[in-house]
Symmetry: C2
Subunit: 341 residues, 2 copies
C-alpha cells in the first residue's frame, strides 16, 4: 500500500519530523540518520503526499497556463511549443501545469478558468494576445501572473517578450542587403504589440537604409495572422503593385499563405519574389522553397516564463521584470539577390 511519512519514520527509527527535515533539507541532521532515513524512503518507495504538503504550505504546487482557443489549435505549433518549454521547466521545479484554453472572444458571460476560481494555482502564465476583459477579471484575484508574447494594458506584470524590433530589422536588412528596395510588409492583427513592433522594425530598417516607406506596400488589415489571411493579403498586394520584389511577412503562417498565392499565380520564389517570415515554425523546412525566417526560441520562452512565475510566487513580491528573448535570422531558400526585370 501507499506508504506515509510515519512508515518511513518507524522503519528508520526516528520521528516523523526528522524524516521531514531530511526530505526538505531544512534542519541539520547527522549523516548517519540521514542515510538511514533515505534508505527507508527508498525501500518503501515513499513519495510525500502532495495534498498534505499543499495543505500545510498553503500552496498548490500548480501553475495555470492560459491560451485562447485559436492559439491552442492553430496549425503552426507556436504557443504549444512554448507550453512544452514551460512544462519541461516545471518538472525540474516540481510544479504541475494546468493548461486551459478560453474562448478567443471571451465576454461578460464567460466564466473564468476553474483553477482561478478555486484557487488551485499559485500563479498563472498567459500566452499571446488575450481579451483585456479577461485580464481585468483575473487581476481581481491578485495571483502572480506572467505574460508571454503580449503586453497587457497595465504595465506592472513580469513579461517574456520576443525581440521583435530587432528581428524585423534583421529580416528587412537581409532583403536590403540582397539589393531589394521595393519590400512589402504583410501583417495582420496589428493591435498585437508583437506584430506592430515587427512593422516598426521593418520601417526602421528601411529608414536607416534611406529607402522611402511606401504605404501601399504595407498590408496590415488582416484580422488574424494566419495562412488564409496571408493568402488574401498577397492577392491584395500584388494586384495593385507590380514592382514588388520582396515580402516580409509578420509571421510564418502568413508567409505560407503568401507563398501559396505566389505559387498559384505564376511567381517563382525566390527568383521573382524574395520572401521572409518570422517565428521559424516546423513547417518552414517542408515548404518549397524552404522559408527564410527569424527564429524565435519558443522552448526557452516557456522556460523563462516558468522561472519568472516561480520567482514571484516564492518571493511574494511581484517585480515587473521583463525578459527579452533574442532572435536569429535563418537564411534558407526563399530569398535571393534582386534581379531587375
Amino acid at each position: 500500500m501507499k506508504s506515509t511519512i510515519k512508515d518511513v519514520a518507524k522503519e528508520a527509527n526516528v520521528s516523523i519530523a526528522t524524516v521531514s527535515f531530511v526530505i526538505n533539507d531544512s534542519k541539520p541532521i547527522s549523516e548517519e540518520t540521514k542515510n538511514r532515513v533515505l534508505k527507508a524512503i527508498k525501500s518503501l518507495n515513499y513519495h510525500p503526499s502532495k495534498s498534505a504538503v499543499n495543505l500545510v504550505s498553503g500552496k498548490t504546487g500548480n501553475i495555470g497556463f492560459i491560451l485562447t482557443d485559436d492559439h491552442f489549435l492553430r496549425t503552426e505549433p507556436f504557443y504549444t511549443t512554448i507550453f512544452l518549454g514551460t512544462e519541461f521547466e516545471a518538472r525540474s521545479e516540481g510544479y504541475y501545469i494546468l493548461l486551459t484554453s478560453i474562448k478567443t472572444n471571451f465576454d461578460e458571460n464567460d466564466i473564468l478558468p476553474r483553477f482561478i476560481l478555486n484557487k488551485s494555482v499559485d500563479g498563472i502564465i498567459i500566452a499571446g494576445k488575450i481579451p483585456h476583459l479577461l485580464i481585468e477579471r483575473i487581476s481581481a484575484y491578485n495571483l502572480p501572473t506572467v505574460f508571454i508574447d503580449y503586453i497587457p494594458p497595465s504595465n506592472n506584470y513580469p513579461l517574456v517578450l520576443i525581440d521583435n524590433i530587432q528581428g524585423a530589422q534583421s529580416a528587412t536588412n537581409h532583403l536590403i542587403e540582397l539589393g531589394h528596395t521595393n519590400i512589402a510588409f504583410i501583417g495582420g492583427d496589428i493591435e498585437h504589440p508583437s506584430l506592430s513592433h515587427r512593422l516598426y522594425g521593418y520601417k526602421q530598417a528601411l529608414e536607416k537604409a534611406n529607402i522611402p516607406i511606401k504605404n501601399n506596400l504595407i498590408i496590415t488589415d488582416a484580422k488574424y495572422p494566419d495562412r488564409q489571411h496571408g493568402f488574401n493579403s498577397a492577392k491584395k498586394l500584388f494586384s495593385k503593385n507590380k514592382n514588388v520584389s520582396a515580402v516580409f511577412a509578420c509571421n510564418d503562417a502568413m508567409a505560407i499563405g503568401v507563398l501559396q498565392w505566389l505559387n498559384e499565380n505564376g511567381f517563382k520564389v525566390p527568383q521573382d519574389i524574395s520572401l521572409v517570415g518570422f517565428d521559424d515554425v516546423d513547417a518552414d523546412i517542408m515548404l518549397r522553397p524552404p522559408l527564410t525566417t527569424i527564429r524565435v526560441p519558443k522552448i526557452e520562452m516557456g522556460v523563462e516564463a516558468l522561472k519568472l512565475i516561480v520567482n514571484t510566487v516564492k518571493s511574494k513580491k511581484s517585480l515587473p521584470k521583463k525578459v527579452l528573448v533574442p532572435v536569429e535570422l535563418i537564411i534558407r531558400e526563399s530569398t535571393s539577390l534582386f534581379k531587375p526585370k
Copy 2:
C-alpha cells in the same frame, strides 16, 4: 483573505460538519439552514480547499494526459484537439488535467511522468501510439488508465477508438463509386493499429467491389505518417505506376504531402488524380483543392475518454469498456469522376 469552512460555519451559525453536508449534499439538512449556509458561502466567496479535500478523500482530483513529443508538436492538431475535448469535459466533472509529453523513443533510462511517481493523479489517459515499455512500467502503479486511438498489447484497458475500418471503407467506396479502379493506398507507421485497420478497410472495400488488390499500389513503408513521408511515398508510388487514378492516404498529413508532390510534378487534382485523406484536420479546407476526407470527431473522443476514466476512477473496478467513435465521409474537391486518358 481566503475564507475557510470555519468562517462559513461561524457566519451561518452552524457547525463545520453542517457546512460540509450542505456542500456535498451528503446528509439531509433543513431548507432553512441550507439556505443560510449557501448565503454565507456566497457572501464570503468561499471555495473548499482542494488540498484539504484531497487529503481526506485520498484522491487528487487530477487526471494525467500523456502524449509523445511528436504527437504533441505535429503540425496537424489532432491529439491536441482531443486533449481539448478532455479538458473541456474535465471542467464539468471537476477534474484538472495534467498534460505531459514523453520522448517518442522512451527507453530504459527515461523516468516516468512525475505525476505518476508522485501519485498526483487518480487516473491517466494515454493518446496515440506509445512505447510498450512505458505501458509496462506504468502498469506497475496500477492506476486506472484509458487509451485513446491505440490498442495496447494487454487488452483489458478501457479504450476510445476510431471506427477506422468503417472510415477506410467509406473513403475507398467513394473512390470506387466515382469509377476508379486503380486506387492506391499510402500509409505509414503500419504497426499502429489505427493505420493497419485503415489498410484493412481499404482492402475490404476493394474485395467487396471485386477489384483486385495490387500490392504495388500499396505503399506502407513510411516510418511516420507525416507530410514529408507522404511526399516521399507519392514519389515512390508514381515513379513506378503510371495508371494510378486515385489515392487514399492513411491520414491527412500524408495526403497533404502527396498533394504537394502531385502539384510539383504536374498532376492536377482531382482531374488527373483523386485524393482522399483521413482525420479532417483544419488545414484541409485551406488546401488547393480542399481535401476530401474522413472526419474524426476529435473533441468527442476526448470527452469520451474523460468520462471513461472518471467512471473507472469512481467505480474502482476497471471494466474494459471500448468506445468506438463513428466517422463520416466529407466530400470536398480533391475527388472527381474517373476519366480514362
